[in-house]
């Protein structure tokens, strides 16, 4: 029998090195496949089994998955962009220009980062509305919805802080318009505005502040909350399907349904 690629892969999975890396072993049984999820530090956030219906496209449109995908692209391209960028005035603008005209594929890198950022903002909104219309915020998932709203705000802040970094006219005035809204807060407006910008107007301090928020603070907060968000899906019983809810949560909506059906006795 000729060896196929699958055979080679199976052989690879029997090797001592492979077995030392992947704790779940090499079998294809249901147990091994469960262990592949459960014994992996990243994948163990997910449940080992999912309801088949929830994998259909119409159930979720994969909006959460896609949002996370844009986040991964943004982290990857963002780290590469950081290699070419100094958060200082006016060097930031020169660096952005260099990305366009000097750095190999720099233009592509910046384009991918920017369009992915727009896509992430759009997808995170779409995800929220889809979850709402499915009613998936119902108990015991309340808190995961709250985490989701926080992640929406973090996404907006990530995008907003990144908007300033090219230090061009578009960036400068968009942030000026946006940050002026803070001035409208009663009593504390001036203070909040100053805290946000590190000054009374958008300047070099504001650029540094936004850079730190954009590259360190907000991404770290996002990573932590995304992990909790995923983990809570498993802990709250998987993706929401109304028909599969435990009796307690279900009782509220169809309280009169009998759980035990007794068929009619056969006619004698």
């Amino acid at each position: 029998m000729p060896k196929t690629l699958a055979n080679y892969f199976d052989e690879l999975r029997q090797t001592r090195v492979w077995c030392s890396v992947f704790r779940s072993g090499s079998g294809t049984s249901t147990l091994h496949r469960s262990l592949a999820i459960q014994q992996n530090v990243f994948l163990h956030l997910f449940s080992t089994k999912v309801r088949k219906r929830m994998m259909s496209f119409s159930a979720t449109w994969y909006l959460g998955t896609l949002t996370f995908g844009t986040f991964l692209i943004l982290v990857l391209t963002g780290v590469l962009l950081m290699l070419y960028y100094h958060p200082s005035v006016p060097q930031a603008y020169a660096d952005t220009k260099d990305l366009q005209f000097v750095v190999s594929s720099g233009m592509f890198l910046r384009n991918l980062h920017r369009w992915s950022a727009h896509a992430m903002v759009f997808l995170v909104f779409a995800h929220m509305f889809k979850v709402f219309y499915r009613g998936a915020y119902r108990p015991p998932r309340e808190f995961n919805w709250v985490i989701g709203v926080v992640l929406l705000l973090i996404t907006l802040l990530l995008s907003y802080t990144g908007y300033l970094l090219p230090w061009d006219q578009l960036a400068f005035w968009a942030i000026t318009v946006g940050s002026n809204i803070a001035l409208a807060v009663p009593l504390l407006g001036q203070k909040i505005h100053f805290l946000l910008l590190g000054g009374n107007a958008v300047n070099a301090n504001a650029l540094l502040r936004f850079y730190v928020l954009h590259c360190v603070t907000l991404p770290l907060a996002a990573v932590v909350l995304i992990a909790v968000h995923f983990w809570r899906i498993r802990k709250d019983g998987g993706l929401y399907v109304h028909q599969s809810e435990p009796a307690r949560a279900k009782a509220a909506t169809d309280s009169a349904t009998a759980q035990v059906e007794i068929p009619k006795p056969e006619a004698k």
């Binding site: 709402f132 108990p139 919805w145 803070a182």
Partner: protein, 233 residues
């Protein structure tokens, strides 16, 4: 044949095991199965996730190859562009700032929206999610008419004409829902009749969010005056 067994309508073998249904010979109790078919996350789900992410990557890479990110001249604090626009997802807010004082449009409105989003799952009315007009129909229709008229007048007073069509469409759909029931002949009526209050508020919010953002993005020029998309502001 006489009934020779007793079963409470709310008997639930899982929830309250002490309740007993007496089953005579030749009959058996079928517990309705609430668990549905499950599959292994690996490989079934992870494979689909990988496909979804690949499609996303391809779409974004093609976009990045075809369209360049904008880059204007060096930031110049002494030269204000007209109009100066925020990022697109804040243009709905900026559009509101055009109509209302900053403390209302910039602080109160977004603050209340965020608060409302946070508390959605903590209200039983949103958990039960019963059709808005299935109970107490007459009174609720009166309230609907009052709120719709008041809101429209409010929007007229502040010249927020762009938000009026969405408001009237939702009000009209709600009125249709009010005159429908789960027994209505048309499926659209049955669909609308089953919709709870939260659905109507959220849908109204979604429509106005899209309209205000689109107007701010495509229809505003110098001095935030009305402009057409092809004028390119």
């Amino acid at each position: 044949m006489d009934k020779d067994f007793v079963a409470g309508v709310d008997s639930n073998a899982k929830k309250s095991p002490r309740r007993v249904a007496f089953i005579t010979r030749r009959t058996s109790a079928a517990v309705r199965v609430t668990d549905e078919e499950q599959v292994q996350t690996y490989p079934e789900l992870l494979f689909r996730v990988a496909v979804a992410l690949e499609i996303l990557c391809i779409a974004l890479v093609i976009t990045a190859l075809l369209f360049n990110a904008p880059l204007e001249g060096l930031a110049d604090p002494s030269h204000t562009p007209n109009p100066a626009k925020a990022p697109w997802y804040f243009l709905g807010l900026q559009e509101l700032l055009h109509y209302f004082p900053p403390v209302v449009a910039g602080v109160l409105a977004p603050g209340l929206v965020v608060m409302a989003l946070f508390v959605i799952p903590y209200f039983n009315i949103n958990i039960e999610a019963e059709g808005l007009f299935l109970k107490d129909r007459k009174r609720r229709l009166t309230i609907l008419a009052t709120v719709a008229i008041a809101l429209t007048v409010f929007l007229l007073i502040f010249d927020v004409y762009v938000a009026i069509p969405g408001t009237l469409i939702i009000a009209a759909l709600m009125a249709i829902a009010g005159y429908s029931s789960p027994q209505s002949p048309s499926s659209l009526q049955r669909y609308l009749a089953a919709k709870p209050l939260s659905f109507w508020i959220m849908t109204w919010f979604l429509i106005e969010l899209v309209v205000l953002t689109a107007v701010g993005t495509f229809f505003r020029g110098p001095g935030w005056a009305w402009a057409w998309p092809w004028q390119g502001y």
